[in-house]
Amino acid sequence: MSAPAERLREETAGLPSGTDRERENLAYTWRKREGILGLLSSVDHKTLGARYIVTAFAFFTLGGLEALAMRIQLARPENRFLNPDLYDQVFTMHGTTMMFFFAVPVMLGIGLYFVPLMIGTRNVPFPRLNAAGYWFYLIGGLYLYASFFANGGPDAGWFSYTPLSASEFSSGHRLDAWVQIINFTEVSALIVASSLIVCIFKQRAPGMSLNRIPLFVWAMLVTMIMIVFSMPAVIFAAGSLNSDRSLGTHFFNPAEGGDHLLWQHTFWFFGHPEVYIIFLPALGMISCILSAFCRREIFGYNAMVLSLVSTGFLAFGLWVHHMFATGLPQMGQSFFTAASMMIAIPTGVQLFCWIATIWGARPRLEPPVLYVLGFFLNFLIGGMTGLMLASVPLDLQLHDTFFVVAHLHYVLIGGSLFPLLGALYYWFPKMTGRMLDRRLGILSFAVLMVGFNLTFFPMHELGMKGMPRRVYTYLPDRGWNGMNLAASIGAGLIAIAILLYVANVVKSLRRGRKAEANPWRAETLEWAAQSPPPAYNFVRLPIVASRSPLWQEELGYVTGMPTDKRELLVTHALDAAPSHREEVPGPSGIPFTFSVILCLALIGSVFSPWWLIIGSLASIPPAIAWYWTEEKP
């Protein structure tokens, strides 16, 4: 890029801090309510985003404990730590928790927190809807665990293949509960997706034309659009399974013209894009970290954006590679092999662009960069095994074995959790105003790297030695004992690494070094806000003239925004030219009331369909109030 973007950036541009009067007025206008009611009525994107992140990590801990229980059970053959009934529940809970209650929500939370900051606006466009989305998510998760602890945990796998999940083979309410819980998370994901899509298209800082959007925001935009297109498939799947179970329809009953493969097609039409919904935000985070620590723009912006978009498209053409063993016709399978391999090209282009960015830049090896380097190693292994699984003949051997367990964890942990932990380290000062401890950060990264590889690398071998997935135990004479023990020891190391990370967070929250606004000298707009950002984000909204606004000589700002109204600046979708101002609602308890009523109705419907009718009627008053009351500050 141009010369200014290239000098060593000891000084970065910033926004004027404004007058005391401006700050006071804004703080009053965007104030939160106090007390419990304040907790229940917050509509601030940062509060909601942080809640998503913290809640998601709470579920991550639960899912991790389930993983540990499984590894204890599998540490030696014929172990009796978990009986098959409990093991089936635990591995189903692990998958459901990690996919629906950790991986997607944590990305939603990071998007909700940082996208508005990175594009220079004050809040998301539908704050109350967003608040409702969070409550749906939280209540869904609590319900999942309540049913688990009441011995009603789902036990048909996170994929819940029919007929194992149909009423004939799963009586009781275990699967009814699971099907409802899926709906809760879809609702919250769709709410965040619609908010962020509108936010990114209509609320960018003046001057932030499409070709100046930060790569992380592009990644989130593609992800959110993928959510909009993939979630309806699983809503259909879950809805039809629900109606098979409770109303006696025959979507998945071959005796009446239904088909079990219909479930697999609809589930994986969602399930495969889901993997990329988790993975694409991580790619955006890597771009953020690398540009900040290499002190230069990511090489090949256009190629990076096109790669993200084409990954988003191709991700919808891969789902059949989960179904190669179902005996679909050869010709069709070859198409999905080709698509599964083709998606490696945009991913490869991004890897090459990052290497070109790093080339010669001598990045400082701070923990976020270490996590990115860890990503490179682990994700390359996961990507290569992914290519092997894309091949039909090879997949027929490796499908549903521990090889796939190894592969998916290399992609999801290596490809997504590593960048996520790096990004949280990177953004921690912005969110809390404190720096994390560098030594603890490096230590926890190193333990995670060793533990992760010790856990999952042997699983490749286990798969090739014929060990199927989802087995609660194995016979001692199969030659699988040593590697299972190694994997179990590694799982313990992963737990230690996560504890170290948490300890670092707790310690730094109390005693960490105070963070300035832009401790990493990074270029994107979130670093122009204070650390932590005030409720209104920016005293004066920034004006952007390049892809790296804080590396400009000077950052322009908008004048004339009122300080006594909760107003957003709406800009045009393409060139981000200012269009008009839009008032957004403030704190309200109505979203909470509304979502609690609807959630109770959905939970009640597991036991009697009448609850749906009662709940729908009961939700009308808060729905009316939602639109009726507009509190003025």
Binding site: F299, A325, I355, G360, Q397, D400, P468
Partner: protein
């Protein structure tokens, strides 16, 4: 003595610890897949090593000129990387499609047809005959002749299962309401372990089976023997054992052809003593294991459909003696 040979082989094949079932192949199909695997692994490892090496160089180098000066070279390098990846992927795609065609080629008219029905948690195996009375039904132990393609017709009686013998071919699902096909041809005599690969409930872990590949003559002899009705019990204890079988809950689920036991929920026991393993290839077929299994199957395999049974000691011993006589 006839039974001892496969039994020993089985011990040998499972006793070896460092065995990679997927590569220790015994059929052209599995062999083809293993070759494809080595090709893919070679290319993938080479690419991964190259990318990591580039990353390493990128990290240690120091830019002499400015970032923007090398831009055109960087563009060429990234484009070359993308082109090389695309080419290698094309190679892998072609290799994969060719291998896929070979391992699914129908076996031709000389192929042996075997029907397999999956049940929670055991395998029903039948060899169709020219007339219904010629049909052979057995469980959890598939005998096949060597050097002759075997075509499997797979279906399920309850939930989805997946049929997998790693040393012989990839897997194929058994889906209720659908008929799927699978094929392999075994190169050499031996005993090969198979296993359900699709999660199917409590005892998915122990839903195993064995494939016994033998010379065509031995196979034909085995098939002829299986076609017969149950052996007449010899000796008072076995005769009493048959009475115990017919007067206890056994008869509700199990079939023994020739004595009027027609249960269809559980494995056919007409020639149960000819099998090397019981409980879906979980226990060796010894009188002790059999007695333990009859008394309390759920203790061995929690969740199994076989209920615990209360039998007087001598009834149990006689029942076991009878079952062990069913060659």
């Amino acid at each position: 003595m006839k039974r001892a040979a496969p039994g020993t082989l089985l011990l040998l094949s499972t006793g070896c610890r460092a065995r990679y079932a997927v590569f220790d192949t015994a059929s052209p199909e599995a062999h083809r897949i293993a070759n494809l695997h080595w090709l893919m692994l070679g290319i993938c490892v080479a690419v991964a090593v190259a990318v990591l090496a580039l990353l390493g160089i990128a990290l240690v180098r120091r830019d002499r000129g400015r970032y923007s000066d090398g831009s055109a070279r960087r563009v060429r390098a990234v484009a070359a990387g993308a082109a090389v990846s695309a080419f290698l992927l094309l190679v892998l795609l072609v290799a994969s499609v060719l291998a896929g065609r070979e391992i699914t080629a129908p076996g031709g008219p000389q192929a042996l047809e075997v029907r397999i029905t999956g049940h929670q948690w055991w395998w029903e195996i039948s060899y169709p005959g020219s007339s219904p009375s010629e049909e052979v039904v057995t469980a959890n132990e598939i005998h096949v002749p060597v050097h002759r393609p075997v075509r499997f017709l797979l279906s399920s009686g309850d939930v989805i299962h997946s049929f997998w013998v790693p040393r012989l071919n990839g897997k194929k699902d058994l889906i209720p309401g659908r008929l799927t096909r699978h094929i392999f041809q075994v190169d050499r005599p031996g005993v090969f372990r198979g296993q359900c690969a699709e999660f199917c409930g409590y005892q998915h872990a122990h839903m195993g089976f064995v494939v016994v590949a033998e010379d065509p003559a031995r196979f034909d002899a085995w098939l002829a023997a299986q076609r017969g009705i149950a052996a007449e019990p010899a000796g008072p204890s076995a005769v009493h054992g048959r009475t115990v079988f017919l007067s206890s809950p056994c008869v509700l689920c199990h079939t023994i052809r020739g004595i009027g036991a027609f249960g269809h929920k559980a494995p056919d026991l007409t020639h149960v003593a000819s099998r090397t393993m019981i409980a879906a290839a979980t226990l060796h077929n010894t009188p002790g294991n059999l007695a333990g299994w009859i008394l309390d199957a759920p203790r061995v395999k929690p969740g199994t459909r076989m209920p615990p049974n209360t039998l007087a000691a001598n009834d149990l011993l006689d029942l076991v003696a009878y079952l062990e006589s069913l060659r």
